[in-house]
């Protein structure tokens, strides 16, 4: 039988938090911004099929950084939660707030009870009628939850990206402007990533349209931006699309 050494709870939690933070910091940044046209989600991601951004429900999207297997299982669980809830009540009864609080409970339970915390950070984003009613919930590895306004940057050298983005961000941006601002700030993060040559093929971009019923005749606001469309978004500096 092995004898366990005494470790104070403070020390234990600090060690776990450091461990999780290190894992998340190794990855590349993901940006979620709320703007005039809706919510734009921009990630540096060289893979076209292993997504960091995903659709959860009609007006709700998911963005994550950290370990793929961990956030992928959380994404799938989130879709199940939303679909069961929407099926048993009604589609409009599925809210980002509800999902975010379930995520917070699950992340918190794993952080305190399991041998290893989740090395992930998540954003649950819900697009509203106006930018003022958008919701961006940021969830960290220990289960803390924050209701952010404007934009969220997670993972990688997040502080450096926030600094750059703060100067160019405003609520009145349209999608091409918001995506350009996000990509510009990702390029400045100075970390190991693709750096200044961050092109469309190493980006993953998705949006939540503010009014999908009018724009595309569907209730599903989530839309991935393919490489051709992203190219025009990134190059149309003077003439908005």
């Amino acid at each position: 039988m092995t004898q366990q050494f005494y470790v104070s709870p403070e020390q234990l939690m600090r060690d776990r938090a450091d461990f999780a933070r290190k894992g998340i910091g190794r990855g590349r940044s993901v940006i979620v911004l709320s703007c005039r046209d809706g919510i734009a989600l921009v990630a540096e991601n060289p893979s076209p099929s292993l997504h960091k951004l995903g659709e959860i429900y009609d007006r709700i999207a998911f963005a994550a950084v950290g370990k793929y297997n961990e956030f992928e299982s959380l994404r799938q669980a989130g879709i199940r939660y939303a679909d069961v809830r929407g099926y048993s009540y009604d589609r409009e009864d599925v809210t980002a707030r509800g999902l975010a609080s379930v995520y917070a409970q699950s992340l918190g339970a794993v952080f305190t009870a399991e041998s290893k915390p989740f090395e992930v950070e998540l954003v649950v984003a819900e697009v509203g009628e106006q930018p003022a009613t958008d919701h961006l919930y940021r969830l960290t590895f220990d289960g803390s939850i924050a209701d952010e306004k404007g934009f969220v940057v997670m993972g990688g050298a997040a502080e450096a990206v926030v600094e750059v983005l703060r100067s160019s961000f405003s609520e009145d941006l349209d999608f091409p402007e918001a995506v350009r601002a996000a990509v510009h700030s990702l390029r400045q993060d100075g970390s190991t990533g693709a750096g200044p040559q961050l092109g469309p093929e190493s980006l993953e971009v998705a949006v939540l349209d503010r009014d999908p019923e009018v724009a595309r005749g569907t209730h599903r606001a989530f839309r991935r931006i393919g490489i051709p469309e992203l190219e025009t978004m990134l190059t149309s500096r003077e003439s908005p699309v």
Partner: protein, 273 residues
């Protein structure tokens, strides 16, 4: 522990929403309710029944149309019911049989397809959708034996073969691919006779709508459980088309014109049929 982790791989084979409900929320599945009616088929007079659905292929797509009537015995339970629904972007579903169970099946099937699409990041193949629907109809078999049967008709645009296809089902979960056109429900025999005479290869969309409205008119003419176009209340059939651009509901004003033309041409002809 490694065996358990490996077993998770096998479990991940199904990303089905209805399987998930069956495992974790069985009370939400209509097919799991157990009812014991005194006699077989006694459920038939209890709940509204949805009636005739017709479907036909046309150049570059497929169309589905349903009348607006639900009956309960000899009473008209609803004049407004809609029985044709978009299942996802490239398929539609029409239902005949016990309305309550059929509407629930439709809702479950719509979530099933969307759920798969979100989890997998890709759309299910058209054959995959038809197989899933067949499995869901089979789960309702105990209820069907009590007289609460649901028989859907499924049509979609096959994005790999670039053509419209249509599938019929039986209560045991049999899945049959139909050629050219098909109809289900109480008025289906009369509608089929009409379709046989009116359908031609490579119809355009407008003529396909016209054929569907006429077939439903003929079904309503001979089947009391099928509703014809209602000019008093201005109720027209529900018609959806699916082609490479996706599903589209034909707007009521187009259907009004078509239905009024059918009535007018038959009034002018002034014949028995």
């Amino acid at each position: 522990m490694p065996e358990e982790a490996a077993a998770a791989v096998a479990r991940a084979a199904s990303t089905s929403f209805s399987d998930h409900l069956g495992r974790h929320h069985p009370d939400l599945l209509a097919s799991r309710s157990r009812v014991d009616f005194p006699a077989q088929g006694a459920g038939r007079a209890l709940a509204p029944h949805a009636t005739t659905i017709v479907s036909l292929t046309f150049a570059g797509g497929v169309l589905m149309a349903g009348d607006r009537r639900a009956t309960m015995g000899n009473v008209i339970a609803s004049r407004h019911i809609e029985k044709v629904f978009p299942a996802d972007m490239f398929s539609v579903l029409g239902i005949a049989g016990t309305a309550g169970i059929a509407l629930d099946l439709t809702r479950l099937f719509q979530v099933e397809l969307e759920h798969y699409e979100k989890i997998e990041g890709t759309r299910m193949s058209l054959d995959g959708k038809a197989n899933r629907l067949a499995a869901m109809v089979r789960q309702n078999l105990p209820m069907a034996l009590q007289g609460l049967a649901v028989v859907p008709l499924f049509a979609g645009y096959d994005t790999s073969r670039h053509e419209g296809r249509l599938f019929s089902f039986d209560v045991t979960g049999g899945r049959y691919e139909e050629q050219e056109h098909h109809s289900v429900g109480s008025g289906s025999a009369f509608a089929r006779g009409s379709l046989k005479k009116l359908w031609k290869p490579n119809l355009d969309e407008a003529s396909a709508v016209q054929v569907a409205v006429e077939a439903l008119y003929d079904a309503a003419d001979d089947d009391s459980a099928t509703g014809g176009p209602d000019v008093v209340r201005e109720l027209w059939p529900v018609v959806y088309t699916v082609n490479s651009a996706g599903t589209r509901r034909i707007p009521d004003r187009e259907l009004e014109t078509t239905a009024r033309n059918v009535i007018a041409s038959r009034s002018i002809a002034g014949r028995e049929a």
